[in-house]
Symmetry: D2
Subunit: 340 residues, 4 copies
């Protein structure tokens, strides 16, 4: 079977595995208080040209969103997100579990719109009942979005400006950051660090066994952050594993290199799909391709390819996801093209 | 000044005050474990013809919604409500604070639609990602709604049937129940008790100083309910005050009588508004009237009448609320008519 | 039956009831945004000689403790209290429900000891695992304590100094404040306001139908306090009821006068008990008397007097509570003395 | 430097690393829905002779305690633990964060006592104020305890019986289970599974990179368990990593073999310490040794050995922890003996 259903189907990139293997029997203190972690943080700081960045390594995406949002918000705050945002849809209520409302804005190809954000804030603060409502205390966006789309520099800049104006932090979920950066020429990780108040660099979906690097870029780390991470059950005992992995990801540009690889593979498939007349559900430039398939054709397709079910399109058709990753080989792509 | 901004602007109905005064120096045990409370519960059980009903008296509406929802839901459950539902909009995130997502459905004049509810449930349980999503564990509706509208017997019956089919409780918020019952002929409180799995009879907005009576109608009281109420800070030390007040409300049909009074006054005002050519923002038969007013006219109106600001209609016009209640006198109505 | 089991067995003091009756039909805005509430706050500020005090009226004690503690603490903070403190024992986990650990210190006649508090703080901050532990973020004490005992000025001053040194707020639960103030000559409410960072003036147990006045004395009100109160389900719609009641309590010194009345009655009973050879479980100067009674004698006593069961003393004896209040009449005391 | 400060200082056992390496490029579905995980669960079920066991793999210990306790308890429940229990002391309030009180019992060499547990339950349910108190809804114990001590079969059996009698689950935290099983002859993992209602098999401290296997042994898995895990941010995307690791741990008896190795090394050191006249802070048979050291001697010791600081013994002496593990080599032990 060909495996194209997601970008977290394999273990880790060989260079990450090599680093884990090489350091396996080194003894270190626990909870991230080790040299591997320090070194990895230093590499990231240099990479994003933000020497004052404060970095924490966590294990997974939902955990990271919960910890970041809950530690930065006060009781009375909610987080603003697209209706299709991961925190709004597919985290089993992890944000509400930690006491905060997800205030949704309409999604436009998975993105929030700066004008709608502004209007929502204007309306909120001019509402006579504002004291009886959840305060919009943070803006969350994913880059790329859950639909694989990207904010342009203008779009991101506008949203960031609004956040600064209202003094609420902008949090960018970079679960697939490498794929977003590799798919366009406008924005670098340095830009992401500049526009965001906090963001995370996704490892789980980009070549690590697991791990997300949370970066506070504006000297704005919540107090007692280690205690807050521990309290959420998110402090890894062998924190060095995260340091070793992110150290490898940020050595010799591996992180972005994996991004480019996945995008190259996705583009080949995307072109092939278009050439063969398939209907794309939504245009996007990153590693996830959403295709509308005839159900009968899909039955056959599914015999050879593990794909991601996205949603019913209508009675006869289905939207599926085809995802490439750092692990997608040329022969995988060739095989897929033969089947399409 | 004439006061028409809300239905909780005065203290309590004279008969309620008389009961509080008469019983003031009687010594009773605390926390609702007193004869006044027992008697009031008995009266309500008889009134709704539901001898197995289990009744708890709480202090206020948001508190009641929080306690009922949180005590009936499991961690993994959210509550389904109209986007304009009180729990979704104007409770400062009290539901999320207790760990539960408010899953919103579109509102239609403040109401949820049975077909949309059904479709949402069908979609949820057929979603491959359902395990990663909040489980719809309860349906919340208000009767009347936040817009003063009412569900018909058919609408309520359909929603109730869907809840039974999916084995999720239907919770009816009756903050203004008397005004809803008095404004139509189809549904009685007995019917409400039958269709709902749990509902509350609002006292705060209908003649009590404060107080809401939560009624579990299907032998479905959550375990350790007193402990759960206490844990939410919602157990009134002098619980007898609630018993005394609800005892008075359910003596000589006072509760519904007050409902009829407010509806009669509202209808006089409503007719007058229509006759004089005012634009109603939304048609509804209950004690809240939403009027679109020209801003200049509103300035003058506001010099003589305390009204409720609802929202901006456009640059020139504003939606205001005029609310009657058990306390609205004939002379108040006459005065208002002169000003209109 | 004589009723001596608690100090919240009746409604409210006649002067409070008179004020409620007199203002009953006045129309006011909701949620505490009314003139009665403003006036009551002004009276309290004058009484405690703290013009910068910020005051909020809530309904009940557990609710108040939950709201104050949760709004002042950060996620990583817990509250330090005596093992017998109300928040540690008898609030059904309301503090933990809001996410915070109650860190207990040993109790000494219901009180915490300044040296033990200091040692705990020293130990915590020198503990290599401090980051893995709950941060002591507030000190809670009750005045009087749950055992009716009182802190001396020295004791209170020492604890307050330690709190200042460690920059953690001192919260004084004054559910029975009037009885504590009336029972000694050292400390006034002005002193309480000075030593505390936040405290509350209990109304429920001192002549109000319900109500507690939270006083932030150091310009330290948590942000968005109304929203936080609402979020906890603790914002009373007819907030004016609290303003009217506290206005009456702080008119013509009624609050302290009621305190003196209850102490006078308690002292008569206490003397009588001692003279007749009863064993007091714990010496204290306030309105609660803890007596060790022989079980057989207690059976008879219970036929005529409603007392509070406190705990088993041994197989043959029981500790009971006899509480006086503003409502205890001379004839009640005489009757009780005849029975003893 | 010699590293004896903890049992999670290295990566993983070579056989675990080999399994991870061997399976690294295999594509699998995410979130534990893979064959490696199924196989590992099957191996554990066979090992504990409990075919009906329901097993979930989580990442770390505090996370596991939080998820298990919160998913099994109702709102009104707390968890009973020793005052020194990990959940009571060193989890940064993770249990309270999820809304539940940790009800502490005195510790006896880190253990709770069956009689004291029974008495606490008897007292609770006979307390007139029980409704105002947190309900004891679960008993938590660690095996070995935080002090490296072990419950005997009798002690465990008695506690288990009390839990059955009161119908509250017994949860055994087996973070170091292998070391506990290897250090005595009375109890097997099969016994643990029998006495407990839920327990976990610790991987992090016994040869895995990370991972804990939660075992529900009495057909008592909480509903919607995957959703609850996700909601706590604890669902690992590449769940297969846990399956692969536990598969290796339960192949060829590796798990217990590592336990025996650590105990053998600990016993050599323990004997050496005794022979050389060192004072042990507490006798225990497992892999953690608590030694009272003179501060001056400790300064020198610390130049060559990384030890765990435990607590100050007095002004001149300190309690330290020396921990062995699966990774402690014979030469490590020899070197340490030379230094002692």
């Amino acid at each position: 079977m060909l495996f194209f259903s997601c970008d977290y189907a394999e273990g880790c990139h060989p260079r990450v595995l090599e680093a884990l293997t090489r350091t396996n029997m080194v003894s270190t203190p626990g909870y991230g208080d080790d040299d591997f972690s320090e070194l990895a943080k230093e590499k990231i700081r240099e990479y994003i040209k933000c020497p004052e960045a404060d970095i924490y390594f966590l294990v997974g995406g939902t955990q990271t969103n919960q910890v970041v949002i809950d530690s930065m918000l006060s009781n009375y705050d909610g987080v603003v997100a697209a209706a299709t945002g991961h925190v709004a849809m597919h985290e089993a209520g992890a944000i509400e579990y930690s006491g905060h409302k997800v205030i949704t804005l309409p999604e436009h190809s998975g993105k929030i719109d700066a004008d709608e954000l502004k209007q929502m804030l204007v309306d909120h603060y001019s509402d006579a009942s504002a004291e009886h409502m959840v305060n919009p205390g943070m803006v969350y966006m994913s880059f790329p979005t859950e639909y694989g789309t990207l904010y342009s520099r203008d779009e991101l800049g506008n949203i960031s400006s609004i956040c600064r104006e209202y003094e609420i932090p902008l949090f960018i979920d970079g679960a697939r950051l490498a794929y977003g950066l590799a798919a366009q020429n406008e924005l670098t990780m340095e830009d992401i660090a500049e526009y965001a108040d906090v963001f995370y660099i996704g490892g789980t979906k980009v070549g690590a066994l697991f791990g997300e690097a949370v970066v506070f870029t504006k000297r704005n780390t919540p107090k007692h952050m280690i205690t807050q991470i521990k309290q959420h059950g998110a402090l890894l005992a062998k924190g060095r594993l995260l340091g070793v992995q992110f150290g490898a990801l940020f050595t010799d540009n591996l992180y972005l290199e994996m991004g480019h690889h996945a995008i190259k593979q996705a583009n080949i498939i995307r072109e092939d799909l278009k050439k063969k007349g398939y209907q794309l559900y939504m245009e996007n430039p990153t590693n996830q391709i959403f295709v509308v398939m005839d159900n009968k054709e899909l039955d056959k397709f599914g015999e050879k390819v593990v794909y991601g079910f996205w949603e019913k399109y209508n009675e006869e058709k289905t939207v599926i996801r085809i995802a490439t990753s750092w692990a997608t080989t040329d022969s995988d792509v060739e095989e897929l093209r033969k089947i399409l």
